[in-house]
Assembly symmetry: C2
Homo-oligomer: 129 residues x 2
DNA sequence: TGAATCTGTCAGTAGACGCTAACGGAAGCA
DNA sequence: TGCTTCCGTTAGCGTCTACTGACAGATTCA
């Protein structure tokens, strides 16, 4: 067991990791993505959101709770109604995570392809370069 | 039931949705993200990856299968070993999804804030005037 | 005050998911 | 050929999760 980077105990990264984890788990559900899409362009009350789906209002309410807990939803009260809209800030951590992953894997892929080409082409030049 | 945008039956969007769904479900697991991070910077065999975690090799193998099915992993055979590395192309759909969501919600948030400010401004002006 | 509306919360259930142990297949070596 | 290594697959189990139905709190209006 070496746990090089598998289970880091960093302090600053832990919060980001936790936020990313919650956001990803929230987005992993198709219904929740549909809800997020609905409230991405306009503010809507819970009942209006529930009407868009065939599942019960209870299920939608729970989905709203998950999205809210993940920081992906903004809630505003208006009388008996509760208006929801997407919260773009909740996607920041996820964006940076994907960017980092993208850059790293893209760089690795490029390097491996070049190495492969170098080996098949001329390994002497590869070792010399 | 109106299903305006909750359950679209589009043709071109369905594939993208499916790919995004699989990628998100794959990334929603912390262990799979750790695996992806490991092979983002270097190509590694399955056994080497399994050593980094306390769970059994079986579990890691299943995680590798999920990541591979989601198009996030590239597999290459070398004798008895199977080498894995992250596949950046698998993140494209997810990136565009997040970009779209980000742009839409950010625009909405800005518009709502401006409207709110306008209302409160208008309100004070109307009540004062 | 009482009725109606809008919404969240609390048990309970069916299905999905991650994990382990046991097994089977493919490749390398004496 | 027989042994070993490396790896994926299957069956089974415990846990998590999305869902439904029933109930409770908050607000508005007559």
């Amino acid at each position: 067991m070496t746990d090089t980077g598998a289970d880091p105990d960093g302090d600053t990264d832990t919060d980001t990791e936790h936020a990313t984890d919650e956001a990803l788990k929230a987005l992993a559900e198709p219904r929740r993505r549909a809800i997020l899409r609905l409230v991405a362009h306009e503010e809507l009350p819970a009942g209006r959101i529930a009407e868009e789906f065939e599942v019960s209002r209870t299920a939608v309410s729970q989905h709203l709770g998950v999205l809210k807990a993940a920081g992906l939803l903004h809630e505003r009260r208006d009388g008996t109604r509760r208006l929801y809209r997407a919260r773009p800030e909740g996607l920041v951590g996820l964006q940076s995570f994907l960017d980092q992953m993208w850059a790293g894997s893209l760089d690795t892929a490029r390097r491996l392809v070049e190495a492969e080409r170098g080996i098949s082409d001329d390994d002497q030049a590869a070792t010399a370069g």
